[in-house]
């Protein structure tokens, strides 16, 4: 409809716009204009006007139906005119309305009327003038408004409130004014791109005067900063006021320039000072909690009144001043305590905070690593603590694992670092940890260890394997483990075959079949021995039924598998010698080309002993047996006699006598009494022996093993290592043919799985050169050639 108006031979001279979207409005405005203006008496115009359409339509109809009545349209006789003073009078009305609005007074004109007046002015090419007038009006108002503040010397808070009121009313007024001058916005402003809309004009003016009066501006900004600082110190402040004023700054587009920078600076100052101070005053956990609280607060602040664009910088500033600056301090001062006391909650917080700042986690990881190394070293290095070392290591590992899992979010960097640190410190003390781990396993696998169920034992073994994995000198472990395993197997003290086998399979998995082949061989020997003993019993029954029965079992060991035992010659009672000989004959008849060596150190017996109080069974070693059996002849023997009769090595004999006469279960009485065995001591069979148990195990007193036996084991390990070094050297040289000394050493260090000194390697190389496996290069003494 309206489209027609504008397009088809529009009779109205007022028609100026071609835009179809607004043409309807234009018509409306025109109508309004017509009605309002008193100088257009012609009331028909309205009808005429609408007839424009009619005409057009009629023309069309006419061509179809010529019989219809004709309606003739004529142009206006004269163009409608506005009165000459229209501009002034209308503006007067409008300006009075605007001023009324600005002063919050009731308006004497209807808003509708004002709106139409603006429309009329716009359509009569008075828009630019109207805009200018309006601009001046607003300009004056804003200026006076803001200048008011220049002289104000009131309290800051009041000042801010007033400022806020001014701003709020400015906004309200501008909304109102814009409503009235909507046509201006929609026509004039739209057509002139370099003119800003009424709302923007209002903002521009506000900004202009706000910026102009720096005093006002700084007072506002400082007031805001003061409020924020008060809030930071824990006071309650008017957040709505803050929010509103900050919105004002944002709307005026001076948030960044006027406020944000200063705000960030003051934040930085505040937290720099606070960080320094609290770092001194507070313990680390409290400090962390404080930092966390601060970050939380600042986030809240952003949420509640700051512009969201500030968030990144603000939080960054806080993190920088409270965390980044103090990373080292925090770690040095507090981390060790937290870790030692296992304060999971604080550690989680620490991790969480440090993950916020650059390098935080690296530093934390570094310190964590250092802590483990330090702490671990104290566990490992002190010989006083050897007894509890493995248990402590296990506990320590558990605790650290737990921390990584629950506080450090299983961060891989940390778990790797954990492993690295353990590996580092556990190898700080050569050989001893390996030895102690082996002994620990022994104590757990020993019979009579009833503290753990099978699953618990299994879990424990798994944990031990983790420690074992860290150890470089695994051969040391193997040597000691083998020694202990031998004892367990030979004395029948192993808690459970399943557990032994499971441990074996774990070792095999970890280090390969080569590592465990000897251990497996030991198990195999035990099984073979069982078969042999069954066969031997049958043999006895058939061939020598007349012999006095002696229940004899023999464990036959293959030399290579077992630890080497020093053969020791002792004098056995005739009966035992007889049995030994029968067995030997029997065995050699089955196995051609072998020789058998008895190992009296490892034998043990169960004795039946009759005391006054009744019969008891004594579980004793072979040496103890030999000594006790002497007392069948006579109740009392001197040391020298016993020594001559049994032929047991002196030190061994003294220990044996000590175990029988000075231990818990005293089947012999020593005369005179005392702990040490002297050459002139006499021993008497203790007929009055009492014990509530029927079967009594008399423990052997361990040789002060630590020194001698340990040295022997270590020596053996060292021997084995030499072979390994030789093999590795030959392997490398065979592949490379020629190699310089340094390269050879570095390759060797890469291949060898145990710690080794370069000087030892040098010795092995010399030895190989002597044996013609390789030679020094004739021209270059630092280079070796492989000799095929």
């Amino acid at each position: 409809m309206s489209r027609h108006v504008s397009k088809i031979g529009d009779p109205s001279p007022l028609k100026r716009l071609d835009e179809p979207q607004i043409s309807k409005k234009i018509r409306l405005e025109i109508e309004v204009d017509e009605n309002m203006s008193d100088n257009s008496p012609d009331r028909n115009r309205r009808a005429n006007f609408s007839n424009v359409n009619g005409v057009n339509r009629n023309l069309n109809i006419h061509s179809v139906k010529p019989t219809t009545k004709k309606l003739i349209i004529k142009n206006f006789k004269s163009e409608p005119k506005l009165p000459d003073d229209y501009n002034e009078t209308t503006w007067k009305k409008l300006s009075s309305a605007v001023i009324a609005i600005q002063q919050s007074k009731p308006n004497e004109y209807l808003l509708e009327e004002l709106y139409q007046a603006v429309g009329n002015m716009c359509s009569h090419k008075m828009a630019s003038e109207l805009y200018k007038n309006l601009f001046e009006l607003i300009d004056a108002h804003v200026r006076s408004n803001i200048e008011k503040f220049k002289t104000e010397t009131m309290d800051r808070l009041l000042f801010l409130k007033k400022m806020n009121d001014t701003w709020q009313s400015h906004c309200n007024q501008m909304i109102m004014i814009r409503g009235i001058f909507l046509c201006l916005d929609r026509t004039y402003v739209l057509q002139n791109p370099n003119i800003s809309s009424i709302w923007d004009m209002g903002l521009d003016l506000f900004r202009k005067y706000f910026m102009l009066h720096t005093l006002v501006q700084t007072r506002v900004v400082e007031g805001l900063l003061m409020l924020i600082e008060q809030e930071r110190q824990g006071d309650k402040v008017d957040r709505i006021l803050l929010k509103s004023l900050l919105r004002m700054l944002t709307d005026l587009q001076i948030y960044n320039k006027a406020f944000e920078q200063k705000f960030l600076q003051s934040t930085e100052r505040l937290y720099a000072a606070e960080g320094q101070r609290l770092m001194q005053e507070l313990e680390v956990p409290e400090f962390l909690a404080h930092v966390d609280k601060r970050i939380h607060e600042e986030n809240e602040r952003v949420l509640h009144y700051l512009d969201s664009s500030t968030k990144y910088q603000l939080i960054h500033t806080v993190e920088k001043q409270l965390l980044s600056e103090h990373i080292n301090n925090i770690l040095q001062k507090g981390l060790d305590n937290l870790l030692e006391e296992n304060r999971l909650h604080d550690l989680s917080l620490l991790y969480q905070l440090f993950s916020r700042v650059k390098n935080g986690l690296q530093e934390l990881c570094h310190a964590f690593n250092a802590f483990i190394k330090k702490q671990g070293r104290t566990i490992v290095i002190d010989p006083e603590k050897d007894k509890t070392m493995v248990q402590e290591l296990l506990d320590f590992k558990d605790a650290m694992d737990n921390i990584v899992a629950s506080c450090f979010k299983k961060n891989e960097m940390f778990s790797n670092s954990l492993k690295e640190a353990f590996e580092h410190f556990i190898n700080q003390r050569t050989n001893k940890p390996a030895e102690l781990i082996a002994k620990f396993v022994d104590s757990k696998l020993r019979a009579g260890n009833k503290e753990a169920t099978e699953e618990e034992l299994e879990r424990l073994l798994d944990k031990i394997m983790v420690l074992f994995r860290f150890i470089h000198g695994k051969d040391v472990f193997e040597a000691f483990y083998k020694k202990d395993l031998a004892k367990r197997l030979l004395v029948g003290k192993s808690a459970s075959v399943d557990a032994e086998k499971s441990m074996l399979s774990k070792l095999k998995q970890e280090c390969g079949g080569g590592f465990t082949s000897k251990l497996e061989g030991m198990f195999k020997d035990m099984e073979l021995s069982k078969d042999i003993n069954v066969a031997f019993k049958q043999h006895l029954n058939i061939n020598t039924p007349e012999l006095m029965p002696l229940d004899m079992t023999v464990n036959i060991l293959t030399m290579g598998y077992w630890p080497t035992y020093l053969p020791m010659d002792v004098t056995l009672p005739a009966q035992m010698v007889k049995f030994q000989d029968i067995f030997k004959e029997f065995y050699l008849s089955k196995h051609n080309g072998r020789k058998l060596q008895w190992q009296p150190t490892l034998g043990h017996c169960v004795l039946k002993a009759r005391f006054k109080a009744g019969q008891k069974e004594l579980v004793v070693s072979l040496f103890q047996t030999l000594v006790i059996l002497l007392f069948n002849e006579s109740d009392e023997h001197g040391f020298e006699y016993i020594k001559a009769a049994t032929n047991i090595e002196d030190g061994e004999l003294r220990r044996t006598l000590q175990s029988l006469a000075c231990g818990k279960a005293r089947v012999l009485n020593k005369i005179p009494k005392g702990r040490e065995i002297e050459d002139n001591d006499k021993f008497k069979f203790n007929n009055d022996f009492v014990n509530k148990l029927f079967r009594i195990k008399i423990n052997q007193i361990q040789m002060k093993e630590t020194t001698e036996e340990q040295k022997a084991t270590e020596e053996r390990v060292f021997q084995d290592r030499q072979y390994q070094i030789d093999a590795a050297i030959v392997r490398i040289m065979k592949m490379r043919k020629t190699l310089s000394h340094n390269l050879l050493i570095s390759e060797l260090l890469g291949q060898l799985k145990f710690p080794v000194k370069p000087s030892d390697l040098k010795k092995r190389i010399e030895s190989l050169i002597d044996r013609d496996y390789m030679e020094r290069d004739k021209d270059n003494s630092n280079q070796y050639n492989y000799v095929a």
Partner: protein, 85 residues
Amino acid sequence: MKLTIKNWTGVATWRWVANDDNCGICRMPFDGCCPDCKLPGDDCPLVWGQCSHCFHMHCIVKWLQSQPVNQQCPMCRQGWKFNNK
């Protein structure tokens, strides 16, 4: 008799009765096994020739198989005959 032995668990170690420490063919110790075996003992026995020389059974058999004529002891070049003591 106040004291009698109820049972006795003795321990003995065995080794080969050989006139040398190492096998003359593979140079491995007799306490160990030949290079093809993993476990010493019954799986990898020793054998003696009438010349009194002794080898891992696997080693000497391999050697003899590689000598179609004139089967000799690799040590003393006498004709090889197993000595079944």
